[in-house]
Each structure stands twice: as C-alpha cells, then as structure tokens.
C-alpha cells in the first residue's frame, strides 16, 4: 500500500479546492498533505500565501502518518478516504506572567480585569497587562474561590470564598479603585472551595467541604440598622461588621456524601456540582431538588460545562479528563476520555467560543489544550508552570489563564479559535 485515494474537503470557503480524489502516498504526514493543499490553492489563484493545515479523517485529527492512522482507526484504504482540512490552530501565545506572593488557588477573568484568589488569604485584581490593581483582603484564611458577579460601568461586584467558611461579596469601583465588603455570607461548616454565579447575575452558589451546596443572593442590600449597635459589640464581631452584614443562604442543597469540589450553573435553573463522593449531581435551582446524578469511579476535582456542545468536562484524581453528556438518562455515560496528563487534573475549562476545545490543568505542572476530535493527544501543551497547576480560565476574548503552586499566573493569547469560529 504505497498510494491511496483521498478526497479533500473543507468548510472554509477561502480554501475550497476541486472535489476530485487524489492519489497520495500512504506514508505522507500532515506537512506533506499541507503542501499538497497549498500547491492546489496556488494553482487556483496565484496570490495564495502558504497556510498550515490540519487534517481530520472521520472526525479525528491526523497526528501520525496517514497509513498508521487509518490502521489504528480501522478505516478501509480500499475506498476513497475523505479528509477534511482546517487551518491549523496556532499555538497560544504567552503574554504575561504575573507573580503572586503565594499559591494561586483560583482565577477568573473578564474582558478587562483578572481576579485571582491566593493562599496568602487575599484575592487580587489585575489588569490584563499584568498590573496589580487592587488587593482584596478580608478573609482570615486561604482564599479558595473567586468570581466576578457583575460589572456595570465602573463599579463591579465580586465574590471571594475562603477556607474560613465564608464567602465575601465585595463592591469595587475601578475608577476610584476602592473596595468595600458588602456582605459576608456565613453558613457553611467547612471550607468553601467553589463558587459560581448564575447567568442572571443575581444569585450565586457555593460548594463546600461540609458536603453542602448553598445558594445565596448576589444582590447587595443596604442594611443600616445594624451599624448603630456597633459600639457594644465584642472585637471579633466588629471585625465581621467591617466585612458587611451577614447574609444567610437562600437555599441549601444537600445530597452529596463527600466534599463538593466544584459547582456551576448550566443555565438559570439548573445547577451542576461535582464532588469527592464520585458523583456529579444536577440540581433544580428553583426547588432545590436533585434532578440527575452521574456516577464516576474517582474523586472529581473540577467540572466545566460548554453551552455550545452541551457537554460536561470533568477532571478527576486519575489523570483523565472525561466528557459527559448530562442529558443521558442512565446517568453514567462517559463520552470520551482525554488521557495525556500524568497527575491529577485540577482544572478544566471549555472554550467559550469553540465547541470542541477545552483546556485542562494538572498537578503534573502542565496545562493542555485539547480538541475533542483528537482525544489521544492534546493540541498543545502549555508547559510554563514549575509547580502544580491549580486553576485555569478561558475568557470570551480568547485569553487563557492558569495559576498554580509556583505563585505565577500565566496568560496566553489564543486567537485561532476566533478565526475558526468566524469561518
């Protein structure tokens, strides 16, 4: 088998070639095929510039020579092989390395600011260029989770969750760079490891080591009456008053038998939580009842949901990133396992704009960029961290962030997804 028949096609109108089968050598690799396409395109229009392509055979990225790929995938070489080609995703470009004082436990960024939670009991706000803007200090213990609630104009609302069993709701005005703790959310009996704000930005959910999920209101209210009694309070209470009025949960969702490691809103009415008890549970946020349960075999560390492809991605304590279909009724359908990490997967995040791409961070110091069409090997390894990766985020504007135990927050610009999505 030295030659085989292949037909190339693409969705990108820019690079369409004639729909005729070509005879190509079986040992050809991506670069060879890419050269073939480029030659054809040059023949079509003279002012074509060289473009690197990536190739998919039956929805799987070609990573080895064509012959070996067809053999491992069990595809017949007798017939004409349909090969789809897409413009090659360029590697994420490292942009900033933001130094922290301590381990970074959590990160969330929006189009303008980066919010990180750190083990030095503070959360910090950074500009996208890596400039320290503000330090959110108020917790008495390690900050484990951060989230932006709302940014309207110059004032923003943000949340920090901590090992000291509280979640603090802060108001930050970027113009004056002034921070004010609006509410202290008490109720958890364990460290609050994860928080997630609902799509309407009026509620948020927190998951804690005490096995509970609690839903809180994220709308700050002015409560003046308590401040009058400030003088006759003990010192400890005074301190809590500085952090704003105490807020109690709207609803408590109990059902997990172990610590809740990750929580997220799938839509305004549906919550999803992953736990150390090897389950993912879907909750109805209105009634607080459990709707569905997906059972795995290992502790779940993190979870992410993509509204584009309606899939859940989880990272667990066994090196694999698993993709789940939350709508499956039998409750334990793993669609795909992405295996390349050598340590626990501590962070996964779907691409906000591309339905097939996600990033995962692991204790083996690596952040990997995956395409679900290539489950054997990731698209790119982002090997910048010198210690465990603890958190990762992917913003709408194509910025990948990852923080870890080496006190560094790395940002990457990844634009390929944009061009591909636009195509």
């Amino acid at each position: 088998m030295s030659q085989l028949q292949a037909r190339f096609f693409t969705d990108n109108k820019k690079y369409v070639i004639d729909d005729v089968p070509f005879s190509i050598p079986a040992v050809s690799e991506i670069t060879d095929l890419s050269n073939v396409i480029n030659k054809l395109l040059e023949g079509k229009n003279g002012d074509h510039k060289h473009v690197e392509f990536d190739f998919l055979v039956q929805g799987q990225f070609l990573r080895s020579s064509l012959a070996t790929h067809l053999e491992t995938e069990n595809i017949s070489t007798e017939e004409v092989v349909e090969i789809e080609y897409v413009e090659k995703y360029t590697a994420p470009q490292p942009e900033e390395c933001i130094m922290h004082d301590d381990w970074i436990s959590s990160v969330e960024a929006d189009s303008e600011w980066i919010l990180t939670g750190s083990y030095d009991k503070t959360a910090r706000i950074w500009s996208l260029e890596g400039k320290a803007v503000a330090t959110v200090a108020g917790h008495t213990d390690v900050v484990k989770g951060v989230a932006w609630v709302k940014r309207d104009g110059l004032s923003s609302l943000l949340l920090t969750a901590s090992l000291d069993q509280t979640v603090l709701l802060w108001e930050w005005s970027s113009e004056r760079n002034k921070l004010r703790a609006r509410h202290c959310c008490r109720g958890h009996a364990g460290s609050v490891d994860t928080i997630s704000v609902d799509p309407t930005r009026s509620k948020f959910c927190s998951g804690s080591w005490d096995k509970m999920l609690k839903i809180w209101s994220a709308v700050p209210t002015e409560e003046e009456e308590e401040e009058e009694e400030e003088s006759n309070r003990p010192r400890k209470k005074q301190k809590t008053e500085q952090l704003g009025p105490t807020r109690t949960p709207l609803m408590t969702l109990s059902g997990h038998t172990e610590a809740v490691s990750s929580v997220l809103w799938m839509d305004t009415e549906e919550l999803c939580s992953a736990s150390w008890d090897h389950t993912i549970r879907l909750w109805d946020a209105e009634t607080g009842s459990q709707k569905n349960m997906l059972t795995g075999s290992k502790v779940f560390n993190c979870i992410s949901y993509s509204p584009l492809c309606h899939r859940l991605a989880t990272g667990s304590t066994d090196r694999h990133v698993r993709l789940w279909d939350p709508r499956s009724k039998d409750g334990s359908l793993v669609l795909l396992s992405l295996t390349s990490h050598t340590g626990w997967v501590t962070a996964v995040r779907w691409s906000p704009s591309h339905e097939q791409q996600l990033i995962s961070g692991s204790l083996d110091n690596l952040v990997k960029l995956w395409d679900t069409r290539s489950c054997k090997a990731p698209l790119y390894d982002l090997a910048a961290h010198e210690d465990k990766v603890l958190c990762a985020d992917w913003t709408d504007c194509g910025l990948i962030l990852s923080g870890g135990a080496d006190n560094k927050l790395y940002t990457y610009r990844y634009s390929a997804c944009l061009s591909d999505a636009g195509a």
Binding site: W103, S105, Y119, V142, D164, Q165, A189, G190, S191, W209, D210, E258, A259, W276, D277, S297, K298, V299, N301, T317, D318, G343, W344, L363, K388, L390, A405
Partner: protein, 658 residues
C-alpha cells in the same frame, strides 16, 4: 540212593517242603513225602503231606506201607545235650531232623552240595547243560512240504463279526462320551515365570526396576594417541596442571602425542582406573527418586485477580515536601481534608490533603514520635508526643464551631477540690504556644513513644516502653484531666496500644504478644501469639474482630479474634522490617509500610458470615520513598473516605497513593 536223590531233586515242586535243620544258620524245612532211606530198610510213612504236629501226642508217627505204626524213635536228648552236640559234633551242621520218621539224618557231601546248588537256583544235576545248542524243528521258510497240510480257515479272510461288534460298541461309547478316545494332555506348563505377575510396587518390586549403571565417558580427542595440537597442553598449562590437586584437575591425565599406535606404552594407570570405575559403580546412588509430580500452580490458592478487587491505591499522586528529617508518624483528620505529620526535625506540619499545601508548621521541643488526630468528628484535637511530653493541639482547621467548641471544652475544666497526686503533669501552655494552638501539655516521667485515641475522643493512651516497669501505659481522660495507670504490672516491653473501635477492649502489643484487656471487667480477655520476634505496629479492623500486627522480622500477622489466638495468616511480602500497618475505615483494604521503601496494599475482606474466613489478597506494591539511612516507610495511614493511602518516610516526605 544217590540216583534216587538226584532224580528227586529234579522234581522238587512247591508241594515239596524240604525241612533241613542246618547248624550253620541254614534253616531249610524239607518235608519229604518220601521217607528217605538212609539205611538199608525202607521205612516209608504213608500219612501224606499233613502237619506232623497232629502226631505230637502219639507214640507213633505214622504208618508204613503195611499199615503198621511207625513208632517215634526214643529221644532222650535235652537242650543241654543238643548244645553239647552242637559244640562237639563236627557234622552237626549237616544233620537234619526227619519229621516223618523222627530220626536225625546226617547229610553226605553230595547231598550238601545238592542243597547248595538248589539254594543258588541251579540245576541239581551237575552234568545238565542248560545251554545246549538249539535244534530248529520248524523253519520260517515255507517248505514244499508244510508241516500241516490243512487249508486256511475261512475266518482268516472274513472280517470278524465279533471284532466288528466290539469296535461298534467302542465307537458308540466314544460318541456318547462314555469313554474318551484320548486322555487330554496336562495343559499346565511344567515351568513358569515366577516373577511374571509380581507387583512392581511391592516392597521387593524395586529390585526389578532396572537402573542402568552410569556410563563411562567416551574417550575424546584428548585421549587419542595422536590428539590434535589444540588438545595438547602447553608448558604453562602443564605447570598449572601439575600444581593442581588431583581432584581439581579438569583432565586426569596429560594428553600425549605419539608417532604411531605402536609407540604407545602400556597404560600405567589401568588398575587404578578400573578401581575407580568400580568405586563409581559401587558408590553411585541406585535409588529411583520418586518425585512428586505436582503442578506448582495447583499449590497456589485460588485468589481473585487484583483488578477485580478495585478500588485500591495504585499510583503515587502527591508528595508532601517540607520536612527536613524523617517523618515518624502521620495522621489524617476524620473529615479527610487535613493531614498531620510529625518529624524528627522537631516540627509538626499540617497539610491540605488535596493540594499538598502545608498550612501550618508548629515547632515542638523535640523529635516528634507520634501524632494522632482525634477520631471524634466533634472535637478538633491532635495529640503530639515528643520526648516526655504529649501536647494536645487544636489545629484550628476545619469547622470553626468545632474548633471553638474544643477550646471551650478544654478551658471549661475546673480544678477538683482534692488534688490527687498524679504521675503525669497537666499544664496549660502560655503565650506563643497557646497561639500556635497548643492547648495542654502532659509531662510524663518517661519518653512517650506512641499516642492513641479512643474512638469517642475523650481518652488518650500513651506508651512509654520500658521493659519490666510498672508504668508503661497510661490512659488520660482529657475532659477531666485525669491519668490512670491501668496495669500494675506489665509483662515485657509494650510496643504499641490501641483501643478497640466498638467494645471496651484495650489492646496492648508487647514484643511477642498482643494482650486484649477488657477495661470494664478489668481482666485479660485474650492473649494473641504473634509468632514473631518483635512487634512494631498494630491496627484493629474497624469491625473489631480482626487485628493486624507488623513486626520487625518482615512479617505481617493477621489475627481473627474469633478464630484463634494464633495468626490466621502471616504475610511475608516485605523484604525488611515493617514499621507501620493500617486498616481502611470503609474499604476492605489494609496497608503495611516497611524499611524496604515500599507500601504493600492488600485486600482484606472481612465477611459478616462468621463461617467465612477473611479473604486476604495482596493487590499492590507501592514504591516511591527513597531509602535513607536504611529506613524506608515509617508510617502508613488511609484516607478516611477515599481508597487512598498515605505513607511517611525517612526521606522527609509524605506520599499519597491513589
């Protein structure tokens, strides 16, 4: 007379009984019917051949021809005369008594000769030639003139009817089986194989099992009279050969080269060689070894495959770096979120399990021997032993309410009115130590090696190993700050102690035995014999009926308390001394850490059914620790909820295997 006798002798028949009384043991009874006339007158008795006893009582002896009585001669000889006669008369031997006449007759020489000849079976007549040449009266040749001229009988040429009838009867009898035509021959062979049916397995059967004598090695090239040059020894080799002992030599001779076979001298070592060969034959073992043909795999008990017994820890996932010296003890918080480790670098560190983050470091005044997290979920206390002190630390991790409740519990203690003199000093630390979380310091008279909490969390047992001392184990009650010495006497040096998880039992492991005491009845319930030299560690199954003991002689003994006081199973998987053993709280797992740097995880399923013995399957050898100063793993502990095992080692790390 003589002619008569001769004629008479020819006609002697059986009817003649010659009664001769011969003196020379010739006893012949000749009864002569004829009265022998030795004298001139013929006296013939006519009585015939009758027994002469009939005339015994008569004076006569018979009748003569004229019918007159023949009178018995007068006999007056008695026995004595007879004897004298026998002695003196030279003719006595030839004198015979004639019964017919009653007279004694002396035989002449001719008569004696005749008697002799008759006795020898010869003819009486001397002149009779019994071998005279025979004269044929008839010849076998058919003459012209037959002897008889009678014609041949008809029956000589007609088949005989009588014979035919006889043959017919025989044939009929044969047909009917009345007679057998031929006697069947004896079929039994005359000779047979004595050993043909012998059982080869019988005692003597082995004699038949032929073991051929070991064969002599065939001569090779070096034995040749003209060996190839490479077989000839060089001078150096020859020197070496000569310096070697005869037993060490590879060759027992020196290969030599001769021009021709004629030049080969006589073999000087012939007799010696034959003798050695005979010795070989004589001394070679001629016994057939009966090897037991057992498939080795059949001897291995059927155990389930390890991958059917999942989950169990398989991979090293996390390493907790931070300590600078060996970590003697680790303990996990009941929630599974925190880990405490005590090291020889005089620090106690508190770690976050899932991120390996060291959240707290506490310096204490000596190398930490043992740490134990209070198992009660409502109390947040860690017991740390270093030197002679045990400190109770409130780590301040986990639920704030529980932490403050614990602080309150300890500070709410009120001094009793009458202070008893205790062997252990309870003190409340001040200043920095208090800030660090230390709540109580217990100063013991001796160095404390191990601390162990009761499941409820109020009682704390401390071990101060000291052979022969009465104060080796103390039990503290934290809420009342009271110390008890449960044993007035301890047998042997106590190694470790443990509270029973459900019953009021207290397990004390000395070097060789584990004693189970009932704390309520205050008596010894059971004494487990570990069959090992020095117990190092002990763990009680959460079900309470099983105990494992690790020992410094590489063994792990599993006791079933209901079954026996001897180990139900002894595992010898480790190459070096065991330092720590642990049971998992929920999963059927137990682990052992050893100086060889490995942690071996075993599946240990305990069934509720009392009849079913525990199933013990070693499932995984976990490696990771670097052996430092000949010490590997010093302590193992399981995560309370996940199938994860922690191990602390001499390399200053704690490792988590998942």
């Amino acid at each position: 007379c003589c002619g008569l006798l001769a004629a008479l002798s020819l006609h002697i028949t059986f009817s003649l009984s010659l009664s001769l009384s011969l003196s020379l043991s010739l006893s012949l009874s000749l009864s002569l019917s004829l009265s022998l006339a030795f004298c001139s007158q013929d006296i013939r008795n006519t009585v015939g051949n009758i027994p002469m006893e009939w005339y015994k009582d008569y004076p006569h002896i018979g009748y003569d021809l004229d019918g007159k009585k023949i009178f018995k001669p007068i006999r007056n000889k008695d026995e004595l005369d007879e004897f004298l006669d026998k002695m003196e008369n030279p003719d006595y031997w030839r004198t015979i008594h004639d019964k017919m006449t009653g007279t004694d007759v002396c035989l002449s020489d001719e008569q004696v000769d005749l008697v002799h000849r008759l006795q020898q079976g010869k003819f009486g007549d001397v002149n009779f030639n019994e071998y005279e040449p025979a004269i044929d009266f008839f010849s076998n040749e058919v003459m012209i003139h037959p002897v008889t001229n009678r014609p041949a009988d008809k029956r000589s040429f007609i088949p005989s009817l009588i014979e035919k009838e006889k043959v017919g009867k025989l044939v009929h009898a044969i047909k009917m089986g009345w007679i057998k035509p031929r006697r069947p021959k004896e079929t039994a062979p005359q000779y047979y194989d004595l050993w043909a049916k012998e059982d080869p397995n019988a005692i003597l059967g082995r004699h038949k099992m032929h073991i051929p004598a070991p064969k002599m090695r065939l001569p090779g090239h070096e034995e040749s009279y003209n060996p190839p040059p490479e077989y000839l020894l060089t001078d150096e080799e020859r020197q070496v050969w000569e310096q070697q002992d005869p037993d060490e030599r590879k060759l027992s001779f020196l290969p030599q080269k001769y021009l021709s076979l004629r030049a080969v001298p006589a073999f000087s070592r012939f007799i010696q060689e034959r003798f050695e060969r005979c010795l070989d034959l004589y001394l070679c073992p001629r016994q057939r070894k009966m090897r037991v043909n057992v498939n080795p795999e059949d001897l291995i008990p059927k155990l389930p495959r390890p991958r059917d017994l999942q989950p169990f820890p398989t991979l090293q996932s996390l390493v907790y770096h931070g300590h600078s010296s060996l970590i003697r003890s680790i303990s996990i918080s009941p929630s599974g979120q925190w880990l405490v480790s005590g090291s020889d670098d005089c620090t106690v560190r508190f770690w976050e399990v899932c991120t390996t983050r060291c959240l707290k470091t506490m310096e204490v005044g000596g190398p930490v021997k043992s740490v134990a997290w209070n198992p009660a979920p409502s109390i947040s206390l860690v017991a740390v032993s270093y030197g002679e002190n045990v400190i109770l630390v409130n780590p301040g991790l986990g639920d704030r309410l529980i932490c403050s409740a614990t602080d309150q519990l300890i500070s709410s203690y009120e001094e009793p009115e009458e202070v008893k003199d205790q062997q252990v000093q309870w003190a409340v630390p001040e200043g920095k130590a208090q800030e660090q979380g230390q709540r109580l310091i217990l100063t013991h008279p001796k160095a404390v090696k191990q601390v162990s909490w009761h499941g409820r969390g109020d009682y704390l047992a401390c071990v101060m190993p000291d052979d022969g001392s009465s104060l080796q184990v103390v039990i503290h009650q934290v809420s009342r700050r009271r110390t008890q010495n449960p044993f007035h006497r301890n047998k042997g040096a106590v190694q470790c102690v443990s509270f029973h998880p459900s019953r009021p039992y207290f397990l004390v492991a000395t070097q060789r035995y584990v004693r189970v005491y009932n704390l309520i009845k205050q008596e010894l319930t059971k004494k487990l014999m570990a069959n090992c030299k020095w117990i190092s560690s002990m763990a009680v199954h959460p079900g309470g009926d099983n105990v494992i003991c690790g020992s410094y002689d590489c063994r792990l003994a599993w006791f079933d308390l209901d079954l026996s006081t001897k180990p139900y199973k002894v595992l010898r998987h480790h190459k070096k001394a065991l330092r720590g053993v642990a049971y998992h709280k929920h999963y059927p797992l137990f682990a052992s850490g050893s100086d060889d740097g490995t942690v071996i995880v075993c599946h240990g399923m305990v069934y509720n059914d009392l009849l079913q013995n525990p199933l013990i399957v070693p499932v995984k050898v976990l490696k990771g620790h670097i052996i430092t100063h000949d010490l590997g793993v010093l302590d193992v502990a399981f995560h309370p909820t996940q199938p994860w095992v922690f191990s602390s080692g001499a390399d200053g790390t704690v490792r988590l295997f998942t």
